[in-house]
């Protein structure tokens, strides 16, 4: 069978064995032969030139197998040569799924193969192809591995190991790269930098529009770059840039999301929002479906030509070309000129276009077979021969017409499919054009234009003209066009319509076959879906395109069907005997091109707020933990000792994390009256009041203190995590009520340090000239004073139960204030000892001890609500209702009889049934017991009631307390 006896058999090393196939320098080539570089492939050094892609360099060094296929592990070679197909996925520096034919080489880059073991040449799993192939039709896995159900976890493990492409490193020490988001608003976004896109961008920019153009290739220019028009393409790109167009290269547009187009460019994700969009996305050359059409050496005509002209790599020694239109004839001539021995061109058209081009092919000494196509490729690790034949309507070779030709390169061209993905995502509809056998985008949204080959204008002149017209139309829609320019536009449109139709293209059979069994004929290379698989799916009843897609996974691979959708439609049309145009089109979903998840996730922003004193906490070896956005000192190694120090001597804590708002204006007092449940406007200047805010449903949303500085100025503190929401609430009600006041969040600009304990007054008086006596600054008084040389607002607040002074100063002075207080012997204490001290006083922590259902009544704070105030306030009506309807649950303190510390969240049991939960619990060192807070049924909210707490299997007996554990009358606090 194999081609030993073939005429003109060619021997080419296929194992990367170092046969170098570089051509002499080509005009317009992309590589720089003066700058050789080296990278590694599977650990072996590969010489390359700057400008090479991974694939072009490997190809130049003799490599023909680039990957192993998804399911059957068949060897796969270069197909598209432009980074669009899934045949050359490799790992680059550990990142999987990189397309070797689109990725430029960098010196030292580490490239590895995927999906093959131990090597691309010898892959153990390829046994699946030889032995299991006929037994693994579509649905095989669904049907086989579901019974017995109990074994599924085992199956899943094995299947997952066998499936998938590439491997992610299980752990990454550090992100080696990061992505940035960039938002770009512009007048016109042009997607596609071929001649049409460049012309459109240039024209729109000339007419004054702000234009961005994105192109997935490394430079704009499109098909023309490889087809002899590189000078024209590059000149147009230069003019566009000079006109002010922002050209983004190596930047695929990933999708169209509600007018937002994400464009991925290396480490940047551009989020581009344009008033008008021009799609100049070109076409995608289609492969042909025949037996063993996936052998390495079967290449699209555009891929073979690109490889030769852009990278100076000879794609093969002896070629056979199979085409359905002029494109293959052009490719045959180009390859012949480059020194490839083009043996035969099989043109499916009975007249081979009938024109001059066919004559040129023959004049070049290339055999031309009219009405003929390829029915089978032959070879093991690569193409060694191709069988050409005339085929009947069903794709079967006509008896006696088969001809076997030896070759190492089988160039195929199955027509060009307009790249309409982006247009369809934008809301356009697909329309089948019977004359050209293509699906075009129709009924475009108002802000979307098309230009070039995607709209059927394939040759360079037509594409350029349609680009100019589309650019002018976009500018016109933006109101940037003169009547003279509009006349020009009308002329261009007329000229475009008058251009002769492109030469005819034959519609290839859904699958072409020779006689005998023949190899697999692939419809979808990504997913290893064969023509037989689709026939099988239809036979099983999956006869609509949407069903057969899901059943066979055709078009669902990395390339989203760009090389397989048309083929699958033809196959389905054939099997269901439906006209092509009626089969329909499935949605090609974003992303258009493979994009790392990291690019979509963006750069990780972890906002960390630190107080001005944070450096000191670190020096003191504080345990630092997250508290909302803040990094906070939890303790300094001995939380209970720190708590005791506060109660017996003096302690100092950094409370800069408190939310701090300044409310100012003639109506400031009224605003606060409307937002807090008690009265604030009656506060005298220099006095402080504790306040609770609720929602309109009467649920506690935040708490804090309000101090009056002067008639029109209030200083408000909020919970550390609540300040953003509180500030938004304040400003929203201000806007709603149109009160004459304003609110400023000064949290980050103000440091706050709390000095507390029996010795606090003594320490403060040593640091200030101000009178610190209880008469001068009593409990809940506020005054300005200079402390240790720092101007402070001193607030006598005691949330830890001792005499305490909260000193608020400009953040930059926070550290020196802290140092001065600590130098007086006040012991630093952290958040944890503060929790213990607060708990002893039964002070609630909003969000910890309360939830979205807690009212001040339930939280045992009826005193915080003043329903007698004449002023309406947020939550008043709900609270009036709550006052009349006693809450079912109440927040109480408890003491554990056995000294256990229940877990926060542990369940309170009544008669063995859950009836409440623990919200806080700590060991209280001064009380030598453990205490906590819990929600219990209201009937149990009385002193000495017994409750049982169930905590992870433990039963903990506790007694209820409704008054603070420590200093219930507040004598210490006020002393």
């Amino acid at each position: 069978m194999d081609g030993a006896a073939e005429r003109g058999a060619v021997a080419v090393a296929r194992d990367g064995g170092g046969v170098v196939t570089r051509l002499p320098p080509q005009p317009g080539e992309r590589i720089d032969r003066d700058r050789p570089i080296s990278f590694s492939f599977d650990g072996t050094a590969v010489p390359a030139y700057r400008g090479d892609t991974i694939a072009s360099a490997l190809y130049a060094n003799g490599r023909r197998i680039f990957s192993r296929s998804f399911k059957y592990h068949r060897p796969r070679g270069e197909l598209c040569g432009c980074g669009r197909c899934g045949n050359s996925l490799v790992q680059v520096d550990g990142a999987p799924g990189i397309r070797a034919c689109g990725e430029p080489v960098r010196p030292g880059m580490r490239v590895e193969h995927q999906n093959a073991w131990p090597s691309l040449e010898r892959d153990v799993m390829s046994a699946v192809d030889r032995f299991a192939g006929p037994f693994t039709p579509p649905g095989f896995y669904y049907k086989t591995f579901i019974r017995p159900r109990s074994l599924w976890p085992l199956y899943e493990k094995l299947l997952r190991r066998a499936a998938g492409l590439g491997r992610l490193a299980p752990e990454q020490d550090e992100r080696s790269w990061r992505t940035e988001y960039r938002r770009r608003h512009c007048d016109v976004l042009v997607v596609g930098g071929g001649i049409a896109g460049l012309a459109a961008a240039l024209r729109a920019a000339e007419l004054g529009a702000d234009v961005v153009l994105c192109e997935e290739d490394v430079e704009p220019g499109g098909a023309l770059l490889a087809e002899g028009g590189h000078e024209r393409a590059r000149e147009l790109a230069r003019r566009a840039a000079a006109a002010g167009v922002e050209l983004l290269a190596r930047a695929p547009a990933l999708g169209f999301f509600d007018g937002l187009v994400p464009v991925w460019q290396g480490d940047t994700l551009h989020q581009i929002r344009a008033a008008r969009h021009i799609a100049a996305t070109g076409t995608i050359e289609q492969p042909l479906v025949f037996a063993d059409n996936d052998l390495p050496g079967v290449m699209l005509s555009s891929g073979a030509v690109r490889l030769a002209t852009l990278y100076g790599v000879k794609p093969g020694e002896r070629a056979v070309v199979a085409t359905t239109g002029d494109r293959g004839l052009h490719a045959a001539l180009a390859l012949k000129r480059l020194g490839v021995d083009v043996a035969v061109v099989a043109d499916l058209r009975a007249d081979a276009g009938g024109g001059e081009l066919a004559a040129q092919v023959q004049a070049a000494g290339i055999g031309l077979r009219r009405g003929t196509t390829v029915v089978s490729a032959h070879g093991r690790a690569g193409v060694e021969a191709a069988t050409l034949a005339r085929v009947d309507a069903d794709g079967r070779a006509v008896e006696g017409t088969a001809e076997r030709v030896a070759c190492d390169l089988l160039v195929v061209s199955g027509g060009a499919a307009p790249a309409t993905s982006l247009l369809l995502q934008s809301g356009a509809r697909a329309r089948y054009d019977t004359a050209s056998g293509r699906f075009f985008a129709d009924r475009l949204p108002a802000d979307v234009h098309v230009a070039g080959a995607v709209d059927g204008h394939e040759d360079a002149d037509a594409a350029e003209l349609s680009g100019l017209a589309a650019g002018a139309e976009a500018a016109d829609a933006l109101g940037r066009i003169s009547s003279q320019d509009r006349r020009l536009l009308t002329e261009q449109r007329r000229e475009l319509a008058a251009r002769p139709e492109a030469t005819a293209v034959a519609t290839p059979p859904a699958v072409a076959r020779g006689h005998g069994r023949g190899g697999k004929a692939f419809v979808d290379l990504d997913e290893d879906v064969t023509a037989k698989d689709i026939a099988y799916a239809v036979a099983e009843g999956y006869d609509s395109i949407e069903l057969s897609k899901r059943y066979t996974t055709v078009t669902m691979g990395p390339t989203q069907g760009r090389f397989s959708q048309l083929a699958s439609i033809r196959m389905l049309a054939r099997e269901t005997r439906t006209p092509l145009g009626d089969v329909g089109l499935t949605t090609a979903r974003p992303p258009w091109s493979t994009v790392p998840m990291a690019a979509l996730a963006g750069r990780p922003f972890e906002a960390a707020k630190r107080s001005a004193v944070h450096g000191r906490h670190r020096e003191l070896r504080a345990t630092v933990r997250w508290a909302g956005d803040w990094r906070r000192a939890y303790d300094y190694g001995d939380p209970e000792g720190e708590a005791l120090a506060v109660q017996r001597d003096a302690g100092v804590i950094d409370v800069s994390t408190l939310g701090k708002l300044v409310v100012r204006g003639p109506d400031a007092g009224e605003l606060l009256d409307r937002l807090y449940t008690n009265r604030m406007s009656t506060l005298a200047p220099g006095r402080i009041r504790y306040g609770v805010m609720t929602s309109e449903a009467g649920r506690i949303t935040d708490d804090g203190t309000v101090g009056r500085i002067d008639d029109e100025t209030f200083y408000v503190t909020t919970t550390s995590s609540g300040v953003g929401a509180v500030e938004q609430q304040f400003s929203w009600w201000l806007a709603t009520w149109a009160l004459d006041a304003d609110v400023t969040d000064v949290t980050q600009g103000v440091a706050a340090i709390n000095l507390a304990g029996p010795r606090a007054r003594e320490i403060l008086s040593r640091l200030t000239d101000a009178d610190c006596s209880n008469e001068a600054i009593g409990y809940m008084d506020a005054s300005e004073a200079t402390v240790a040389g720092v101007r402070c607002l001193v607030m006598r607040i005691g949330f830890v139960g001792e005499v305490g002074y909260e000193l608020h100063c400009a953040a930059p002075h926070g550290r020196s204030l802290w140092d001065a207080i600590a130098a007086q012997g006040a012991r630093p204490f952290g958040l944890e000892p503060q929790r213990i001290l607060r708990l002893q006083k039964l002070h609630i922590l909003v969000g910890q001890d309360t939830d979205s259902e807690s009212t001040p009544y339930g939280a045992a704070m009826p005193w915080a609500v003043r329903l007698d105030k004449e002023q309406d306030f947020i939550g008043r009506w709900a609270l009036e209702h709550a006052a009349e309807h006693p809450a079912e649950a109440a927040l109480v303190g408890f003491t554990c009889l056995g000294g256990e510390v229940p877990t926060e969240g542990a369940v309170v049991l009544v008669d063995g049934m859950p009836a409440g939960q623990v919200t806080s619990a700590r060991r209280a060192p001064l009380l030598s017991t453990s205490i906590g807070m819990a929600w219990v049924p209201a009937a149990l909210a009385r002193d000495d009631a017994r409750i049982v707490i169930s905590d992870a299997g433990r039963r903990i007996a506790a007694t209820v307390t409704t008054r603070p554990f420590y200093d219930p009358e507040g004598k210490v606090l006020r002393s």
């Binding site: 509600d258 309109e696 400003s731 709603t736």
Partner: protein, 96 residues
Amino acid sequence: MSFLLTCPNCGVREVTDFGFGGEVSQRPTERPTWRELNTYNYFRRNVAGVQREWWVHRSGCRAWFLAERDTRTNEVLWTALPNAAPSPSPGTAVAS
């Protein structure tokens, strides 16, 4: 969801710059019944069409402003600070 919004202070920005404050509703002026209060608290008109709504420029000037937006298309008809807002156009949903 993705569209542009014009902050009356700062200008055109991506919608992700803003916080949504919900449809404009009228807070009861008299003491409501329990049913009226719960309707005010928990029920929204949720129209398919043009509605008047609150936005806050969270990542910008932090100002609250009003907008009229077609909830079906995300087309924003106008934005304005509360004191400069036009009276509701006919057919606009403003909860009462």
